[in-house]
């Protein structure tokens, strides 16, 4: 299992569309992927779960992945969140 912290950088934070993008990205990997914030864990492959997460701009999340392709999964999500900023900027 590996973990990495990411910072939400887009203005609007994680709302409906980023939730869709995260789940689409996470589903490409076999590993179990979780988003953790303030002790609250959600399944990164489920839009419904992600929608329950309050993650405005500036908040910090932990990505946690466990499985055969855990490294790749974490890297893909980190890139989406921190570098591509959900393609919003």
């Amino acid at each position: 299992m590996i973990e990495q912290q990411v910072k939400i950088k887009n203005c609007l934070g994680i709302h409906a569309r980023p939730a869709t993008l995260i789940s689409q990205a996470a589903k490409k990997y076999k590993s179990k992927v979780l988003l953790v914030k303030d002790g609250f864990e959600v399944d990164a492959k489920s839009i419904l779960d992600i929608l329950l997460l309050e993650a405005p701009q500036g908040s910090v999340l932990t990505l946690r992945a466990d499985g055969p392709d855990e490294k790749e999964a974490i890297e893909a999500l980190r890139e989406l969140i921190e570098e591509r900023k959900f393609d919003e900027e």
Partner: protein, 583 residues
């Protein structure tokens, strides 16, 4: 009960008289709950998954309809709903309960959704709580499929006033356009998105009518007044006659005004006034062009935020689409006026109208502004796009926007992206500070557009929605008129043109005064374009100059209105065109 008047909130204007059809919706339905036989379980799971699949198909279809209509923000909500249903959780959890508890699909669906909704309701953040609506609407749609009621709205009879406790976005999207004559809802919390979908129907819409469901009956005759925001059930003879006269007046006026459509907005002594349209939504551009607006004097961009915020590419598409349609006329794009009463989910303020809104917010949330300015610049390559900054109180705000704009221009040049190097930038004058300091601001911009609604509220220190003080709200108060004069003089001295885009611009009593004071442009909601033009064409610029000097020296708004009423009738013979007795 004869002539029962129920008040609500107006969403779309218009008056209709017609018979009522009630769409009871979900609240009033008794859902079937029963225990399954062991042998029926598999079939029940299949029934649920079929219902989910057919909802998914509908969502896909709705998404592509709105994409085709160039309405990406509507398309987007259907996309997210679809994605929600693509996930297996719903069917998996439902399957478990069907197997363990032997219950029917309707019961199970409700149970699963109620459990999920409680999670949203418990969230501490408002934003998260609101997201539950997405799930609720999707669930409702599946339930309707299960009980076989999916097509009731699609097949409602023509020409009725539709009454319902509540309609979901999906349901509104399903109503065949031009089929219903009016829409009245008892639920008040209509989401902004829903309101906007309803507005595209071009029928009167009134929501938040308390007790509506208690008094209303199927087939009952009713008057829906979208101007005043009320519904009258079983109107009596005299009310009916009064409303018929009103409808006749509006339609006659419409016929009379059609002739003026192709004529220029010019006074009898040859002063040309540029007559433009204000629009709130991309779809409204069709009304602006239908009534021959010369340009878009105010494009409000808050719709960008209705669902998820649109990114630069999507904003660019929308802005350039509008610029193309109005070409060679131009479009003035006002940067986001968010905060105060509009779309401010992030902060709670004691005094939002004096708080963090519009340009004050954008200069702190620079990414929002940068994204928008980039999209606007990219859409400006044909040279018919202008930028307007709202809620300016001091010149540094303008300078800061210009600095950012120059930086973006440099970036675009480096990226070899085409844009208008000389794009005009203007200020929406809506605070007393900017009106008084117009001389300083004028040196920094190419134009002013006076937002008289806010300028009146801030100058008179009155909230026009507050019935205790709303009497004081009148843009014809000499205090306002003197400010307007100051703004125009300052603008013209610096060779900037000056327009008016507030509601004052279509007020028949105000138009002669504004023209007399020297405004160059009036921008009004599309439905006022023809009436405003007809009024302009009856005026003499020379006379309006004398009139405006006279009213500036009056004591109060009542005196100004009384005088203007007489002038409109006796000097300009406008009493046949406008109803001088309506407030």
């Amino acid at each position: 009960m004869k002539n029962k008047i129920l008040r609500g909130v107006k969403v779309a204007e218009g008056i209709e008289i017609g018979s009522i059809i009630i769409y009871p919706g979900y609240e009033n339905e008794v859902l079937p709950f029963y225990i399954l036989r062991e042998s029926d379980k598999q079939a029940e799971i299949h029934r649920l998954s079929t219902a989910i699949d057919s909802v998914k198909q509908e969502l896909k279809a709705l998404q592509s309809i709105f994409e085709k209509e160039n309405d990406p923000y509507s398309a987007r909500i259907f996309e997210v709903s679809y994605a929600l249903l693509e996930e297996p959780w719903l069917l998996e959890e439902a399957q478990k309960i069907i197997k363990n508890e032997n219950r029917n699909a309707e019961y199970v669906l409700q149970k699963v959704i109620a459990h999920k909704l409680r999670m949203f309701e418990r969230a501490s953040s408002v934003a998260v709580r609101q997201r539950g609506v997405l799930l609720e609407e999707v669930a409702r749609k599946i339930l309707k499929k299960l009980i076989g009621e999916s097509d009731t709205l699609a097949s409602i009879p023509e020409g009725k006033i539709l009454v319902a406790p509540f309609l979901s976005t999906f349901e509104v999207a399903q109503i065949p356009r031009n089929k219903i004559r009016g829409l009245a809802l008892s639920h008040g919390g209509m989401t902004s998105h829903l309101a906007i979908l309803a507005q595209t129907f071009d029928i009167p819409v009134v929501v938040g009518i308390k007790d509506l469901m208690r008094y209303v009956k199927d087939g009952q005759l009713a008057i829906l007044d979208g101007y005043k925001g009320l519904i009258i059930l079983e109107p009596d003879e005299s009310t009916l006659r009064a409303y018929e006269a009103k409808i006749k007046h509006y339609s006659q006026l419409h016929d009379k005004l059609v002739d003026v459509k192709d004529l220029p907005p010019v006074t009898i002594d040859g002063r040309n006034i540029e007559l433009c349209a204000n629009i709130n939504l991309p779809a409204e551009i069709k009304y602006a062009t239908e009534f021959n607006a010369e340009g878009i004097g105010l494009l409000r961009t808050e719709f960008i935020f209705l669902e998820d915020m649109l990114d630069e590419a999507q904003q660019f598409n929308i802005y350039s689409n509008i610029a193309d349609k109005i070409y060679p006329g131009s479009v003035i794009i006002r940067t986001f006026d968010i905060g105060a009463d509009k779309l401010a989910p992030y902060v709670r303020e004691d005094n939002p109208f004096l708080g963090w809104r519009a340009i004050r917010l954008l200069l702190k949330e620079k990414k929002l502004l940068r994204t928008q300015l980039r999209a606007i610049l990219r859409a400006s390559h044909k040279g018919n796009v202008k930028i307007m900054i709202p809620m300016v109180t001091t010149v540094e705000e303008v300078l800061e926007v210009k600095k950012l704009l120059n930086k973006i221009k440099r970036d675009l040049r480096n990226e070899n992206v085409e844009f208008d190097e000389n794009i005009d930038i203007g200020v929406m004058i809506e605070t007393p500070a900017s009106a008084i300091m117009a001389e300083v601001l004028a040196k920094e911009v190419e134009f002013f557009s006076i937002g008289t609604n806010d300028l009146t509220q801030y100058t008179m220190a009155v909230d026009r929605n507050n019935p205790y003080v709303s009497e004081l709200y009148d843009p014809l108060h000499p205090a306002l008129l003197r400010l307007v004069k100051n703004i125009i003089i300052a603008g013209h001295a610096a060779h900037s043109w000056v327009g008016v885009c507030g509601e004052m611009a279509h007020d028949p009593m105000a138009i002669p005064i504004l023209i007399g004071l020297g405004v160059d442009e009036l921008s009004v909601a599309p439905r006022f374009l023809l009436e405003t033009k007809e009024i302009i064409r009856h005026l003499s610029y020379k006379e309006t100059k004398a009139i405006s000097e006279k009213v500036l020296n009056m004591k109060n708004a009542i005196e100004v209105r009384k005088f203007m009423k007489k002038v409109l009738k006796e000097e300009f013979h406008l009493d046949s065109i406008i109803d001088l007795n309506s407030p």
